[in-house]
Symmetry: none
Subunit: 135 residues, 4 copies
């Protein structure tokens, strides 16, 4: 199980990666069900980035894969995504930057990053996911 | 302006107060406009407490007063609260546990606590607000 | 027809009445269909008072009577009010402070005032309605 | 801070510019948080122009830039705009005609104009923004 303490450590790893990219943004770590564990937004980042980071993380957790992989679903099976959206009670995000977190092959949560280009957000999320093994 | 670092310090003050109360919950610090700065939920707290803490904090920030003070508005002027809700784009919470944060008399944000009895949530929020002067 | 110029004059009459009552609030004048003609909010009034004043005015215009008279409908025929709400596309207000404007017995618009006690809001709205004959 | 009096003066500057363009429309000035300060609609303008002017102004205030600059966000990052919309509680407008108002580099509000072609709406909004320095 991902504790708050470990979630915050993952978030800080994402923040450190963002600082190296000169990316000012927001970071969200959620549990396997997509609920908030730790969220942080730099005060100078756009006001809506916290919500976007949370949605990316939630998408990655609920679908068990990087958020960007839902772009295919959105394009070819938009009805399915719409129904999944109704069921999930939130708006999935198909942009890059949401990454699931696994421990021994089991989904334990996800991280979402928002504030930079989608590719940069993704790099920060990947580095935070890699840091999970060390926290 | 409340930075992420200061917001996290206020959140940690609320967590420390909660630990003393044996309260397992969630904590949210938002800016003056009600947007997320730092959110933390103990993994063993109910899944929805993060959302409740965020809503309490947002309510306190947007109305500039403790969330519990909206109970009067909700009881006697439910129309007004309903319209404010539509305008604000979120569901205000009238339970105790959301407290505005002021610096030199200026509203700079708010903290919300959820997970215990409303009175206990409020005590933790008040102690976190008092800690603001030291962070 | 109520022009913008006349609507603004009615609004200013409401503001003058509010100043005499030491009421800091918002004022809205709408046409017979309930659409905005002139809206003004003192910058120091609560952020949501503009929306409340608009809703009071719209209620008075769409129902052709003071907004407070809908309280009876809300209490005894809430289904009817709910359906009317769906049809109208806005949330009617049953608080006092919305007053229809008539010229030669024909409904030409309405005024709504928000920011004080409902009775004070109503007095300002009534005085503005009386001023219509002089503008 | 933008008072009601100054907001009305900015609105009148937009109206004067519109008259020169033979543009019959609506004008809205909001505070930095996007809440109404002064709204005016010519009675002969389309009934929905008041709502559009308000949405343009609110968009410019909440995003701190001309409303038309959100077209890029809408096209390439529609997920982000959808989430921002949910958070903000209103429907942002990506058409031209909403312009932020700055004083000494600080955002203090915004103006929105609706009723003409987007480019004409924008010219009126720009002239009103320029008039801010004189009111």
């Amino acid at each position: 199980m991902l504790t708050y303490g470990k979630a915050l450590a993952v978030l800080e790893a994402a923040r450190a990666a963002a600082a190296e990219e000169s990316l000012t943004g927001a970071f969200a770590v959620v549990d396997a069900a997509g609920n908030d564990l730790a969220v942080g937004r730099e005060a100078t980042a756009a006001w809506f980035t916290g919500a976007v980071a949370r949605a990316k993380a939630r998408t990655a957790a609920r679908f068990g894969r990087p958020s960007v992989e839902l772009a295919h679903l959105a394009e070819h099976f938009s009805d399915v995504l719409a129904i999944a959206t109704d069921e999930a009670g939130f708006r999935p995000v198909t942009l890059d930057g949401g990454v699931p977190l696994f421990r021994d092959g089991v989904l334990i949560g996800a991280i979402g990053v928002s504030g930079g280009a989608p590719e940069a957000d993704r790099r920060c999320a990947d580095r935070a996911a890699a840091a999970l093994a060390r926290v």
